[in-house]
Symmetry: C2
Subunit: 351 residues, 2 copies
């Protein structure tokens, strides 16, 4: 297996592969040189903060063709969402023959009447390059990279239209001790959940920021009630957006929806940005200051699809009054405005 | 409003009522004398760890009739789940006329072919005592008592068959600043979620206990992946149990389901018991030792319905293979056995 993207998730994804006896070539982007060099020299991944197991060989980006060689059976795309076009183009540039692909990168792009998920985007680019576009699968589900690298019991979902291909991938990568793989042919549903969950995790992190500016309560009360209120609103909005995108409600209820949203709320960059917005800071000030240089997937999504979301609501294609949380967060990020959560508008009664 | 049960939730429920200008009489059970005396003397609730606002008058249990007086407009039942029969009987004993009732207490009782929720149980007892059983509503949703008492933004759902009665309750108790009330006529769905969520929060707490016995990971990795795997499995099982009990999937997705499960996983007694089970301790040893004297609602539910759950699975009324988490937890608690989570059996493919 050759993985493009030596960040935390790309690197962690190598662990179950190696444990199943496969050889993994881990290739950095042009931004990953320091990590690649460290893994190559000592096995230590400075960002994952652990030693990667033997059987993983690290390559710099300009060695991608060498890493692929002529014996790669599976290509994994694991760049961050902002780099998806770059990553897909890079693959198209170096692939000499048709490979099965599995994608870690999550996100969406807007078009005139809706949103395109990343497996579709990558397949489109492979096809345009004259390569086989029929085997672009994706992996989603509640899986923090550091915990996967530590072999914590993790459940994920592989998704693709073809069950036979999914079964092949599952047999290649799953195990019965810590990497529990389920499959779904509902690509639209899995990928909608996987993308929107980063965005909503950011939103659910907002109330914790209130504590940074309000007088603390006598009893030390935290902000779990407001976060839980938003969690349920997020699931409701994810359901709407997922079905709008052609996905099924089943994956909203399952690991890609409820499970992944839960795990993404347990900390990480989305939550930290949400907290600072909740404390009254402006998006650009946060990204120029305390979170300088970090990629926040939820904010990237807001920037990528926020204007389209607003337009689709205006055209009546999406129900504006049922997407109050998404619209509030998109507004704050895209307009660099204070974030004001419209509590009274959440959980509107059925139409 | 007269509230029976001066524990944390009964007492916190008085806060939005008083803020809306109502007079609240808070009546303890026979176990709450110390709290009642403290509230009566200084307003300080030792368990909630805050001062209750003026307008709340505290009474000992033997003063229940006096507290009710002849001007109580709404009775609230807020005892713990183990005391539900006692609480309902106590109301039947002292009520001189028909009162609207709103219930905080959550739980289920088993019968031959299924489970009975607590509003139904209380209505049955009121009816048997010759009292009006048609106005027993309930409140559910993601609401930790200490945060409600601190006026954190909290969303809840009032449930009853009659929308007109719900609208009256909502107007009585809701506000637009921190107590956001939604309504649902799906009593079976709301109450199923409200009961089972305690049980599943206990289950989701289990993996954190693994960290107490395993060698820690190099990178300090936590146990959020396993917990999130269980979270999604719990939602899937709650959906099954809710629809089995005649409820709708809508409330599983909304505040009573996803929202309340989320908030209940953020700490509390269910999580603490789960963690100790995860560390390999036995239920009875935990309850005789470090958690002596505490009521753990999730464990109470396992004891109350575990045998019936197993029987209903055996009879084919419930799908055993899709309730692997519930069955594992019930077994460990009812049989006082080590808890072994069957990871490979979670998220079974569709039948």
């Amino acid at each position: 297996m050759t993985i493009l993207g030596a960040g935390v998730m790309g690197s962690a994804f190598a662990v179950p592969a190696v444990d199943n006896g496969h050889t993994v070539h881990l290739v950095g982007t042009h931004l990953d040189d320091d990590w690649v060099d460290s893994v190559a020299e000592t096995g230590w991944h400075p960002k994952l903060r652990c030693h990667l197991p033997d059987g993983i060989k690290a390559f710099r980006n300009d060695q991608l063709a060498e890493a692929l060689g002529d014996d790669t059976d599976l290509v994994c795309l694991g760049v961050n969402s902002a780099g998806i076009e770059w990553g897909a183009d890079r693959l198209c540039e170096v692939l000499q023959r048709n490979h099965p692909v599995i994608m870690i990168t999550k996100g969406l792009r807007a078009h005139a009447t809706g949103f395109e998920n990343f497996p579709t985007l990558v397949a489109r680019k492979l096809d345009a390059a004259g390569l086989d576009a029929s085997r672009v699968a994706a992996v989603a589900g509640p899986c923090i990279a550091g915990e996967l690298a530590a072999r914590r019991e993790s459940g994920v979902v592989f998704t693709h239209q073809d069950q036979g291909y999914l079964d092949w991938l599952r047999q290649l990568l799953a195990n019965d001790s810590y990497y529990f793989v389920r499959t779904s042919t509902d690509v639209d549903g899995v990928e909608a959940c996987a993308a929107w969950k980063n965005f909503y995790a950011l939103a659910i992190g907002v109330p914790s920021g209130y504590l940074d500016v309000r007088a603390p309560a006598e009893n030390g009360a935290a902000m779990h009630n407001p976060a839980a209120n938003l969690f349920a609103q997020a699931i409701s909005e994810m359901r709407l957006l997922t079905t709008f995108m052609g996905g099924s409600i089943e994956n909203v209820l399952a690991m890609p929806g409820t499970g992944d949203l839960y795990v993404t709320c347990q900390g990480g960059r989305n939550s930290r940005l949400g907290r600072r917005l909740g404390a009254g800071k402006l998006y650009r000030d946060i990204m120029a200051g305390p979170m300088h240089g970090e990629t926040v997937e939820g904010a990237e999504l807001a920037l990528a699809v926020g204007p389209a979301l607003e337009r689709l609501c205006g055209e009546g294609r999406l129900p504006a009054e049922r997407l109050a949380l998404a619209r509030a967060v998109c507004h704050a990020i895209a307009q660099n405005a204070p974030l004001d959560l419209p509590w009274s508008h959440f959980h509107p009664p059925p139409a």
